[in-house]
């Protein structure tokens, strides 16, 4: 059964207040949602509250859910918003406490020089622009469709396609010296290349 089929069957039950359907959603999406927001908040412990908040908000708003929508996309979006809220609160607390965040001791380029495979790839992904990284992680690492990613990030599906294409081109360029034995031309800046393609 595909994700879409699952959502299609579960959504009407959620709208009707069926707690067994909510349990099914928790079983299916708790781990993916925690993993997703952990990327914003620096670890799964910190992600737990935001993930829980996503399911709470979904249940609170169940009667207004669109019957044809993607539950997974909606959960990821709610979790993202909760994580961003938490990030803002944490930032305010840290500023109030005079907290100074840790500063990375090496640049992504240095990581590329020093790291092993996973470190090299992670450094290249982290070096993507924020929007390209957001899109790339949702589609590549979390398995969302373009449509779901567009719902999470409030973008047009075509804009998601553009950003993903540019993200992979950036990664190909960044990883080329390590895996292809030659470099590629540096792509145009995101602003220049995104304008004519964004929906």
């Amino acid at each position: 059964m595909t994700v879409d089929q699952v959502d299609f069957e579960i959504l009407p039950r959620i709208r009707n207040g069926d707690q067994a359907a909510l349990a099914l959603l928790l079983d299916r999406y708790w781990k993916p949602v925690v993993r997703y927001v952990a990327g914003f908040l620096g670890g799964v412990d910190a992600a737990e509250d935001a993930a829980q908040e996503a399911f709470v908000r979904l249940w609170e708003r169940r009667r207004t859910l669109k019957p044809s929508g993607s539950v997974r996309g909606l959960l990821f979006r709610m979790a993202r918003n909760a994580a961003l809220d938490e990030g803002r609160r944490r930032g305010a607390r840290e500023r109030a406490d005079g907290y100074a965040p840790e500063v990375a001791t090496s640049s992504p380029a240095e990581d590329l020089e020093n790291g092993e495979l996973s470190g090299i790839v992670a450094a290249a992904v982290n070096a993507l622009s924020e929007r390209r990284r957001d899109v790339f992680l949702l589609v590549r690492h979390h398995g969302l469709s373009y449509k779901e990613a567009s719902e999470v990030l409030d973008l047009a599906p075509q804009t998601v396609a553009n950003h993903l294409s540019m993200a992979l081109a950036d990664l190909r360029t960044a990883l080329a010296p390590h895996f292809y034995g030659r470099s590629h031309p540096t792509p145009a800046s995101e602003a220049d290349s995104a304008k004519p393609r964004s929906a």
């Binding site: 067994a20 925690v34 412990d45 495979l117 790339f136 553009n162 993903l164 992979l168 190909r172």
Partner: protein, 314 residues
């Protein structure tokens, strides 16, 4: 073409687009090499597995109860700073307030009364971080904003947060108990009172007399007489709560493990002296062994494995 290649790799391309990419690849060796490099990049960047353990999945009931609690306008529960990983534990506490249908009402002096019927229990987290589990057919009245003074008619188990400047007082028709921070059960009706102390010490007063009751001891007040001298007992044989009494209030991990071991009938011992002294503040209702062990181990920063026994590592 790059966008179409990525659509093919991500499974978003339709048949026509896939065919277009296929023909483009066949058009020149350079095109094929470009495609292969995109595909290689796509495969390389798919590594995404966290080594961190994912927190246990909350139950649907916990989510629904949280929503209901918000609807009632309840304020968030206090977070106790001594909890190193408190999120889930507090969430569980918040979720189970009034979970089994106890009645609750406000009184004119701003107190709150909880009342359970036959077969009902309720766990009430108080503003100071204490927990009270109320047995069936019992009534608990919270007096003031600090909630460090309560009236009890019936049976309740208390896990009282330590506050050296503000004793916690339980009043009944037969006498009262005063504590600073401990766990105990009180069973009271119009004519009698029984106190069972699981952890810490409790001062029990009645008929102008006062006794101190320590861990593993019981004292009674009957028909307006003074409290009986404390008597050592096996508290877990006396305490009769079908769903158990896994309520911990700054309880040493070693003792938590001992009680979980007794309740679930599985060997669970803490040999590490540092871990043994770390404290746990949490409570559980009908959670399975795995959830209980995972939570308490996470609170103290231990790695626990459940098999024939529960193994504990730092």
């Amino acid at each position: 073409m790059e966008e179409s290649i990525v659509r093919v790799l991500s499974g978003e391309a339709g048949e026509l687009e896939a065919l277009k990419v296929e023909r483009w690849r066949q058009a020149s060796p350079e095109n094929e090499r470009t495609f292969q490099e995109f595909a290689h990049t796509w495969n390389l960047t798919g590594l995404n597995d966290t080594c961190e353990a994912i927190p246990p999945v909350p139950s649907a009931k916990q989510i629904v109860d949280l929503v209901e609690r918000r609807k009632r306008g309840a304020t968030p529960l206090p977070r106790r700073p001594q909890w190193p990983h408190s999120g889930w534990v507090w969430a569980a506490a918040a979720a189970a307030v009034l979970a089994v249908g106890a009645r609750v009402w406000m009184t004119r002096d701003a107190g709150v009364t909880y009342s359970t019927g036959p077969g009902q229990t309720v766990t009430v987290p108080l503003a100071d971080g204490s927990f009270v589990r109320l047995a069936p057919n019992s009534t608990l009245r919270l007096h003031d904003a600090s909630q460090r003074a309560v009236d009890l008619d019936g049976t309740a188990f208390f896990a009282v947060a330590t506050d050296s400047t503000d004793p916690f007082v339980v009043r009944t028709a037969s006498g009262s108990a005063e504590v600073l921070g401990t766990r105990f059960e009180m069973k009271a009706d119009a004519d009698s009172l029984r106190l069972v102390v699981v952890e810490g010490r409790v001062r029990l007063a009645g008929a102008g007399e006062r006794v101190e009751v320590g861990r593993g001891n019981v004292s009674r007040i009957v028909d307006g007489a003074a409290p009986t001298a404390p008597q050592g007992v096996n508290v877990w044989e006396i305490l009769d709560w079908p769903e158990g009494l896994l309520l911990f209030q700054a309880t040493p991990f070693a003792q938590v493990a001992e009680e979980v071991s007794t309740f679930f009938d599985i060997p669970f011992a803490v040999d590490d002296s540092v871990l043994a002294l770390r404290s746990v503040t949490a409570w559980f209702g009908d959670e399975p062994l795995e959830d209980v062990v995972n939570t308490v181990c996470r609170v103290v920063g231990a790695q626990c494995t459940i098999g024939e026994i529960v193994e504990v590592d730092r």
